[in-house]
Amino acid sequence: MGERLAMTAKISLGLAMSGIIYAMFLVVPQYVGLGEAGRIIIVHVPTAWVTSAAFAVSAVFSILYLRSRSGLHDASAVAAAEVGTLFCLFATVTGAIFAQVVWGTFWNWDPRETSILVLLLIYAAYFALRSSVDDVPRKRRLAAVYNIFACVTMPFLMFVAPRIADSTLHPNCAFLQGSKCEGISLDLNGAKIGQLGDVVVELKAVQKQGDMTSATVEVRMPGLTDTADLIPTFDNAGQPADRPEFPGQSFRMILIEADVPAGTARVNIQAPGTGLLSNQRTLWVFMASNLTFGFLALWLYRIRATILHVTSLVQTTEAL
């Protein structure tokens, strides 16, 4: 009975995964400004979610291990970390490909890019620690301690990362605590230099011409590969009008607010890709994809945890 249920689950998972891939290419519509590249979110976002969830699961099992000292809890923590690493790599690579195609750069220290890189480093350090301690109980104990310790730093990253850049290329900010994605305020008489992503921006002038308000902003690309003066504008109704492109990139600068007498202006990055999920078909495929990737991770995790636990039991028996 159990075996048949497991087989059914396995086959449905395979079918669901095939369905997601089919839907990703044939059901999800193309997007203006994104082209075919927009389809990648069907894989990118669920893998990123699974990565964070796996990290949390791994930390929980680490706490349980320190309390129970049971090999099964340790095996579960390792299995969750391994699945997390795999999905973390997926999320990073798909994200970088998307960023190159759509935003014109593989990597730009967007807050989410920074936090997923740190997560990848933590996973790597966790496995490095495990491989350099020979004594099994000590290895398990130290790895569990490190996992919990690293987990405590994550809220700080969530808290600090939005402040690293006042603006993000990622479409919505709902999941990033403390970030409002409101762009950055520059002041001719005060803080006139700021950062959008990893681009340094310096306000040069704010002026009114007819019914348009414009700001002259010097942008310096990372490594000073390019500098340019961009002049975004907005019209009488306060709607952004001219949205100049950053040099060599395919994201744009918009002017949100400007006060000519005070010499202040608020500018932001505008990247193609905002409002992707407002399409019903995309939304449903996206939800189904989240669910399927979740189950895939769960399945991988179960198998891996069982294998690790059985292997360690066999080794202990042989040692006896």
Binding site: L66, V118, L121, I122, A124, A125, A128, L129, S132, V133, D134, P137, R138, R141, L142, A144, V145, Y146, I148, F149, A150, V152, T153, F156, L157, F159, V160, R163, I164, I193, V200, E202
Partner: protein, 228 residues
């Protein structure tokens, strides 16, 4: 265990660390020379920098990179030495785990503060780093040092009995320190460029919160690292 007993044991561990350091001066010599070498290397490598709006950020980043790597070389010693001289077992018998952790933490803090003063002075002299808001600058360095020590002392205890300790210490500490490092660099850049207390308070608060969180977690976890 009574509070005063823990405090007495902590003090004993701390004084023991100080005494053994005064006898050999191993840690201080090695770390001071490391700091001098890296600041000189940075100054020679950069040459004269143009005065620009980004200069405070460059100086702050260099200062913290030097401090970070000096910390990587210095802060693991307190526990590695116990394993090398085979005194760890005796220490386990002689003092409760919390006292060992607190004593070593205090010693590391003292070492890192000395190191920070040295690096900052060398940076001001050799790199011609200009400190336009000295008050926030000093507070940021101190809270940053607190964060560095709180984030690495537990890891130092962890790697003491592992293979390839030095490299592992850096590998394990770095991801833990990233939030603190980013905050410290940004805050120090603000202080170098002459920003007042009002805008420097946010990074200072973040650094203090980080140090406290790491310290409390370490207290919880240290007994697990130190057993056996």
């Amino acid at each position: 265990m009574s509070k005063s007993l823990l405090w007495r044991a902590t003090k004993a561990v701390f004084v023991r660390e100080l005494r053994s350091e005064f006898r050999s001066r191993q840690a201080l010599n090695a770390v001071a020379l490391f700091a001098v070498c890296s600041i000189v290397a940075v100054s020679l490598g950069l040459g004269p920098l143009n005065r620009s709006a980004e200069l405070p950020l460059v100086h702050a980043a260099l200062l913290w990179i030097v401090l970070l790597f000096a910390a990587f070389t210095a802060l693991a010693r307190v526990f590695v030495v116990e394993e090398e001289q085979r005194t760890a077992a005796a220490l386990r018998l002689a003092a409760p785990p919390h006292a060992v952790y607190l004593g070593k933490l205090l010693f590391n803090l003292l070492l890192l503060c000395a190191l920070t003063v040295l690096v900052a002075v060398l940076a001001i002299v050799l790199l011609r780093m200009q400190v336009r808001s000295p008050g926030p600058f000093v507070v940021l360095l101190v809270t940053g040092a607190l964060g560095l020590v709180a984030g690495t002392t537990l890891i130092a205890a962890m790697i003491a009995r592992a293979a390839s300790r030095g490299a592992l210490f850096a590998v394990l500490s770095f991801p833990i320190l990233i939030p603190m490092l980013v905050t410290a660099v940004r805050g120090t850049a603000l202080a170098l460029s002459g920003t007042g207390w009002d805008r420097c308070m946010a990074p200072i608060q973040t650094l203090i919160a980080y140090a406290v969180a790491m310290f409390v977690t370490s207290l919880f976890l240290f007994a697990y690292v130190w057993e056996d």
